[in-house]
Symmetry: C2
Subunit: 492 residues, 2 copies
């Protein structure tokens, strides 16, 4: 087993350096002095250069050749599967293409931010065209003659295919559109009224994070412009933000990030710094953040407990009891922005992006026609026109960063959350009684036991399927849950 | 110049990685969750492993061989001088010795902390013996037959020798002992009385840091157990601490760290990530922190301005005007602890350590006799007995970390500060009038122009000598300054 030990020792050191880069990225968003940006870019580039050299190190190829096909246990085989995938991926992309992509996405990120501020898609289009051309080239290198979009998808969701997702999403879309229309015809609930003191919001966010099982001794909660979770193992940090008028922003973005963070905190400690020591895919990660945020955090039972905490922290919030609070938390309303969307409409935003980015990658749609295609599709699904590019095609950072294949993992995560929620209800029959008392242990314990502890041991679909008693993941449980929940709230 | 460009590109990338390690070390003291210690040790070790491989990379030897002796400008020659020194140093120490030292000092640091808590030098002695044995071995490898202690000194103060320092320190000791005795026979000034609100202390620390020219846009001020400065260039962070009863702790440790930090902030930006882009030695670094803290910060003129700020921040502090405040700031009293010592006694603490550690390194003194030797010397210089090991031989972390040769740079820094202060007074004749108004620009501007901007361009003694109009650095200006200042305060 010497080759395996050598390989894993090399991989662990690379993993530790990857954690250093994660710490640096956290620092950049949360702590870095604003005058240090240029210097930091060089520091990050130096780390990336070290990491890239290690990921493409030919010794990995040698070790893999010695080991593959040998008699190894389940964990070792899983390690080799991940290492092989990442090694091949790193070596398939020529160095000059990787450099060109890094340069183009860096430039395009700045161009996107300016174009969004100016509401001018035309100013962004030429830069995005260049990114798309390079991403197509990269996709061709990665796919080795296979489907280019599937190769991109594999960076975020190994094993998923566009064909599979299309089928799933195709089943989602009509029922979501119908549910949305029905709900929006009904009278709307009252929102809570403030003031919502910022310090009180942060105190409540700390309380709620701990309630959902986030271990503060192995993490931190800070503020940042966009909430995120960062790091693995014993150092998993989350951020949140506050809005004076809307306490739900801080609260539910905290619960969402706690879902991501506890996944990382609860992976078996012996996997630390290895490919098994991180969440297995973006979709499975999002399944944890979304089940924490929605199926648990926005449930009628949990919001009873939360309503009491809200009045403790903010006094009278202008709502007539816990049922009114539950309705307010689950308020469905028109809006342009994906990240602000409710449970009913969120996936419609994602489906739109998935269809457009596949067309862009295949060449069926060109960048110059992207804005018009966006606006047409938005009107078809939402029934009204996009008012400006920053509320439409320019709202998300992803494409400027070259992240084609990332968007569908959001909805896949919601689908997985739907499956897990169904299985959890069976496994914990008195779940609502526990949630009403603010006891999240049965729910988060079940998720830790059935999903989180495994890290990268099983493939994404497999870990969900195992947790669900062997059932193939499907969109049905999510749709059933949404129709039942919002049907009840809106008396459909 | 291709070899030079290649070399410098490699060196800059290593420098950027060194800054990443500095950011990580800062995070560890200021931000890291307490449960992340073990994981962080592995992350730091991975960074160290990368840095060590780069510092000993044989390509450096090849580039140096191509370039040395060629026609290069002053800056390039200075770069080569530093790179040669650091490359030879890294390659002279066998890898297994470096590993053994890292392991021994890590163990010994824990043993020291426990022994200090238990006031039990005997428990620490065996571990320290091992460290000393390994340091002697390392010193022998580094000195190539020359003086072992000088080789150790060179890690912190290139070019300095024990013989030179002995002569300087020998001249300091009798006059400091005499000054100390004279001062302590006089009536003691009143200390200020609180309460000193912690938040008000931190607000004042921010104000004073900016007053001394610290650029907050390229740094941060946080709290930590032990104040420190960290990083170079555009990301130089400092920490401070507060004590409810003693506002001077926060205030003067802030000014001290600002001295270190502005040195790093004001080095020519084109030196970033190279050996010229950092303070040139511990002694020169300490000269900046000490002149900021003492010759400027504890001057009669500046304390007039500071007294007004103190009363603004804390109300009545129980002192009868700025003269009483000046006396309180410069209060000389008995004490065991180096880091809490006043200007008169501080160097006596250092001289004691310098003599003992030279004897330890040469083998003239053995670790088992160290406590007795410490206590004897302390009584000789200070006139009273050490009460317990944590107030004596166990008070400092340095030896447990293997930092032999570090202590004398503290006093060398004070000597250099004395020389610079004399030259500054000549260059800025109305210095006191400026300080009284809280205008530090003439003083810090002169230091930036004459010392700080150069970074590593000149050797340590040379940069001081150049700033002082070519005069050889000597202990005389420091002694003259101390005798005049404390003679006046204590009416000697």
């Amino acid at each position: 087993m010497t080759a395996y030990d050598d390989l894993m020792s090399f991989i662990r050191e690379t993993g530790a350096l990857g954690q250093v880069a994660a710490r640096l990225a956290w620092d950049q968003e949360v702590m870095m002095p604003h005058g240090a940006g240029d210097q930091r870019a060089e520091e990050m580039a130096a780390m990336e250069s070290v990491l890239h050299a290690r990921r493409t190190d030919q010794r990995i190829g040698g070790w893999l050749a010695d080991l593959e096909g040998g008699a190894l246990d389940e964990e070792a085989n899983a390690q080799l599967r991940h290492i092989r995938r990442s090694y091949d991926r790193a070596r398939k992309v020529p160095a000059d293409l990787a450099t060109a992509l890094a340069r183009a996405t860096s430039r395009s990120h700045r161009a996107w931010a300016e174009a969004r501020a100016d509401d001018d898609f035309g100013a962004f289009a030429p830069v995005l065209r260049e990114v798309v051309a390079l991403k197509r080239e990269e996709g061709a290198a990665l796919s080795s003659g296979g489907d280019v979009y599937d190769a991109m998808l594999s960076d975020y969701e190994p094993g998923a295919t566009a064909a599979q997702l299309s089928q799933m999403f195709g089943a989602l879309r009509p029922r979501l559109v119908a549910l949305r229309e029905a709900v929006l015809e009904r009278p709307q609930p009252q929102p809570p009224t403030g003031p919502f003191d910022e310090q009180a919001q942060l105190r409540l966010a700390h309380l709620v994070a701990k309630t959902f099982g986030y271990e503060m001794a192995r993490g931190r909660l800070d503020k940042s412009v966009h909430p995120f979770s960062s790091g693995s193992g014993d150092d998993v940090r989350i951020t949140t933000r506050t809005s004076a008028l809307d306490p739900f922003n801080c609260l539910y973005s905290t619960i969402h990030e706690v879902g991501h963070a506890t996944y990382e905190q609860r992976i078996r400690p012996e996997y630390r710094f290895t490919p098994l020591g991180e969440g297995v895919s973006m979709g499975v990660h999002e399944s944890q953040s979304r089940i924490y945020e929605n199926q648990l955090g926005r449930s009628r039972a949990f919001t009873r407990w939360l309503y009491a905490r809200m009045t403790e922290h903010f006094g009278d919030i202008g709502l007539d009891g816990p049922d009114a609070f539950y309705a307010a938390v689950n308020h469905v309303q028109n809006g342009y922005i994906r990240t602000e969307a409710d449970e009913v409409q969120y996936n419609l935003h994602v489906l739109l992006r998935f269809d457009l980015e596949r067309a862009i990658v295949s060449g069926e749609l060109e960048v110059d026609d992207l804005e018009a295609a966006w606006n047409e599709r938005f009107r078809a699904d939402f029934g009204y026109a996009v008012d400006k590019p920053s509320d439409g095609v320019l709202q998300d950072v992803h494409w400027s960063a070259g992240l084609f294949g990332y968007f569908p993992t959001y909805t896949l995560g919601n689908v997985y959350a739907g499956c897990l929620h169904k299985a959890l209800r069976t496994a914990v029959p008195d779940l609502d009684a526990q949630l009403e008392e603010g006891n999240l242990v049965p729910a988060t314990g079940w998720l830790a036991e059935n999903v989180q502890q495994y890290g990268g041991l099983y493939e994404p679909r497999e870990v969900i399927s195992r947790a669900c008693g062997g059932e193939t993941p499907s969109e049905e449980p999510l749709l059933d849950y949404l129709e039942a929940k919002f049907g009840a709230i809106y008396s459909l």
